[in-house]
């Protein structure tokens, strides 16, 4: 059970779901199109410069 929880948490971090949850909590907004657009805008610079290795 702990393994599954950890596995899911890892996937949520890799796929930025946790980052979006943190954004919603920090800004006090719910998950919707508007807040997601704001989240994407905020993380745009980081996301654009994310290196993917060969």
């Amino acid at each position: 059970m702990t393994f599954l929880r950890m596995f899911l948490a890892t996937l949520k971090e890799i796929f930025d779901e946790s980052a979006y949850e943190r954004f919603c909590a920090r800004e006090g907004v719910g998950a919707n199109c508007k807040s997601y657009a704001l989240f994407l805008h905020e993380s745009d610079q980081t996301r654009q410069q994310k290196v993917r290795c060969c």
């Binding site: 807040s35 997601y36 905020e42 980081t46 996301r47 994310k50 290196v51 290795c53 060969c54």
Partner: protein, 677 residues
């Protein structure tokens, strides 16, 4: 009692590892099970992690659980965030694992399974893992600074400039090589081209779905995207068998090269959320799933390796790339053993997520061991093929022969029997028109992977689907490296140009975006075009160039690491980074010398240019060879400069002429450590 049991356990692991390695090394003339290779790898990794990384953590780096990391001190809920170590491990592994550990070992298998395997194991334990580990710690102790910034602060301005130049150079060569692998895998393959083409509308659809319908549901969207990709693989079969559709997807190498350049430019200039981010998610999803599946497939099927431990091509006459075992095996396999590119990730997002210093060992050293295991699996995938089949797929037409019969005859004469009819049957079983002259490593890996998968799931009936799944999986994440890399390159050029004229540095100003995207695509596009037009298949010249560039970047990272270790008054342990640095410099400088000055035209760029000139060859080809020689020379000069600057620092500190002052963030006691006692 406990320590007695532990001693017994580690002795057993050491003995098992020795037995597995001896079995691999000493078997001659008999086929060997792939599980020996996996067992040897797992034992070596376990010993390396338990003993060597522990020694580095305790003695060399003195990891301090009481010291607050930047994730704790600068926590902002965005970039800086204390994160569970397993989560960071997964995050870091997903970022470092790319096509390199799959392609390099497949190409190096031309020497046999043994040299590549030994280099992967030794290189990872003593080189790659150490580099990732130390750079990650040093970045953590500098608030997550990048390699370039650390080089500038610890070695000086020259160090910073060389690091910047190395990163740009390796990026351009890497992207060209990645694109060439995709071109060689998809040329004349309507099934493969259709599948990959479909991933673009699928990614766009995912982008819109994610933004408009289910905001933030990335995992759900990735599952849908993955299902659509599977449907596209299935649809590819229909496309390849329907002449009216197939003709649009049966592309020549130059046609594919142009399409990939247009794609790279679009991916760099389009909004991130629309194409780049969904593709990245999709690629990561497929990557993690497939690597897991491949590991299970190898264990379930435990296939036999048909490749001998050593082939005759250790003498330098290999058809896939020319050059002797030393130094070429060691630059052919970079990712999987040691990759300079990892130092960019270890000094990128990962250091900002580390919760406690002591967790860096698992993330930095451990994730690289996992990547090394991926390289071992790629070796297995290549070596389960009959050697004749392996060489038929990977040998360029210019070496083996244009026609199937001629190529089969040449390869059989090398001592690796293969028939044109057998290759035709294999091509038919995987849904291709031909498998001859499919250089680049990806098709050979896909055939090997399909062989393993079809042996454990679905049998021969699904061989074609597994082959195209493997091809799609490789091409998908190669293209992800390509679009992410083009964007990163664009940012770096904008950053540099911004110093000359401020508006060019503005990352949201469209004229700047278009200009710099054009520059970076033109740079890698030039090398790609050169590879596509190369009568020797392109991989022969570009892959060694990429290997040299990547490992020279690792040399830059190890120079930075050694300098910091010396400044930390731990010079007596500097061999930990100095030994892999010395090895890398020896290997890459020797390889560069051969690539530039060797008198064999298949190896030396200048000899090839001379040969072409005397035979009245194309002026463009002559220029390209001279350009490759200049690029290699420039890389060597840059690394020589940073070596000299680093050595000046080391000698200055050791002789007491220079103050040993590291530029670390100030020590702050960790609240997390206090809470956890």
């Amino acid at each position: 009692m406990k320590s007695g049991l532990r001693l017994l356990l580690w002795t057993a692991i050491a003995l098992l590892g020795t037995l597995a390695l001896a079995t691999l090394a000493l078997h001659r003339g008999e086929q060997i099970n792939a599980l020996w290779l996996v067992t040897a790898a797992l034992c070596v990794y376990a010993l390396g992690y338990r003993f060597y990384s522990k020694f580095i953590a305790a003695k060399v780096l003195a990891l301090d659980p009481q010291r607050a990391t930047p994730a704790e001190r600068l926590e902002n809920g965005r970039d800086f965030l204390p994160t569970n170590k397993w989560v960071v491990f997964g995050h870091h592994f997903a970022a470092i694992a790319g096509p390199g550990p799959l392609v390099g070992p497949v190409l190096a298998a031309q020497f046999g399974y043994l040299p590549g395997t030994l280099w992967i194991l030794v290189g990872a334990v003593f080189g790659g893992c150490v580099q990732d580990f130390v750079i990650l710690l040093f970045s953590v102790r500098r608030d997550g600074k990048s390699l370039t910034e650390m080089a500038r602060e610890e070695i000086g301005r020259v160090g910073g400039l060389v690091a910047y130049g190395s990163v740009i150079s390796i990026l351009v060569i890497l992207l060209a090589v990645c694109a060439l692998i995709v071109v060689n895998a998809l040329k004349q393959s309507p099934w493969g081209s259709f599948t990959i083409a479909m991933t673009i509308p699928i990614a766009l659809l995912m982008g819109v779905y994610l933004r408009r319908l289910r905001p933030g549901r990335v995992l759900e969207t990735s599952v849908i995207g993955f299902t659509l990709v599977l449907a596209a693989i299935w649809g590819g079969q229909w496309a390849s068998q329907t002449p009216a559709v197939a003709k649009y997807f049966t592309l020549t190498a130059p046609g594919l090269a142009i399409a990939i350049m247009v794609y790279g430019f679009a991916a760099s200039a389009l909004p991130v959320w629309l194409l780049l981010a969904p593709r990245d998610y999709l690629s990561t999803f497929v990557k993690l799933g497939t690597i897991g599946l491949l590991a299970l497939g190898i264990v379930a099927m435990h296939p036999t390796l048909h490749m001998p431990p050593l082939t005759r091509f250790i003498d330098g006459t290999g058809p896939i790339f020319a050059g002797k075992l030393f130094p070429f095996a060691f630059i052919t396999i970079a990712c999987g053993a040691i990759s300079g590119f990892h130092s960019l990730i270890s000094s990128g997002t990962t250091p900002k997520l580390i919760r406690r210093e002591t967790e860096i060992r698992m993330v930095g050293y451990g994730a690289m061991l996992a990547e090394s295991l991926v390289a071992v699996m790629a070796t297995v995938a290549a070596c389960v093929l009959e050697p004749g089949t392996y060489f038929a797929i990977n040998s360029p037409a210019g070496i083996a022969g244009q026609l199937p019969e001629a190529a089969a005859h040449t390869i059989s004469n090398w001592g690796f029997p293969v028939t044109a009819a057998g290759m035709q049957a294999l091509a038919k079983s995987v849904g291709e028109q031909t498998l001859f002259n499919r250089t680049g490593g990806a098709p050979a890996f896909a055939v090997g992977m399909a062989h393993i998968f079809s042996g454990s799931l679905g049998g021969q009936a699904l061989m074609a689907l597994w082959y195209h799944f493997a091809l799609m999986f490789e091409a998908l994440f190669i293209l992800t490296v390509l679009d992410a890399g083009t964007r990163v390159g664009r940012f770096m050029i904008q950053d540099g140009f911004g110093h000359l004229w401020k508006p060019l540095g503005r990352t949201s100003w469209y004229p700047s975006i278009l200009t710099t995207s054009g520059i970076i695509v033109a740079a890698w596009g030039y090398f790609l075009w050169q590879g596509v037009r190369d009568p020797l298949g392109g991989i022969n010249s570009l892959w060694p160039l990429f290997g040299i560039a990547n490992q020279l970047l690792a040399a830059v990272a190890l120079c930075v690491a050694t300098t910091i270790i010396v400044k930390m008054h731990r010079a007596k342990y500097a061999l930990v980074t100095l030994a892999p640095l010395t090895w890398l410099v020896t290997v890459t400088f020797t390889a560069s010398w051969h690539k530039v000055l060797d008198s064999d035209p298949r190896i030396g760029f200048l000899a090839q240019a001379r040969l072409l000139a005397s035979a009245g060859g194309s002026a463009r080809l002559i220029f390209n060879n001279r350009l490759d020689a200049v690029v290699t020379g420039v890389l060597v000069v840059m690394v020589t400069l940073i070596l000299i600057e680093s050595a000046r620092q080391w000698l200055g500190v050791l002789s007491g002429k220079k103050e040993a002052r590291v530029k670390e963030a100030p020590f702050v006691i960790s609240r997390l450590a206090e809470e956890q006692g």
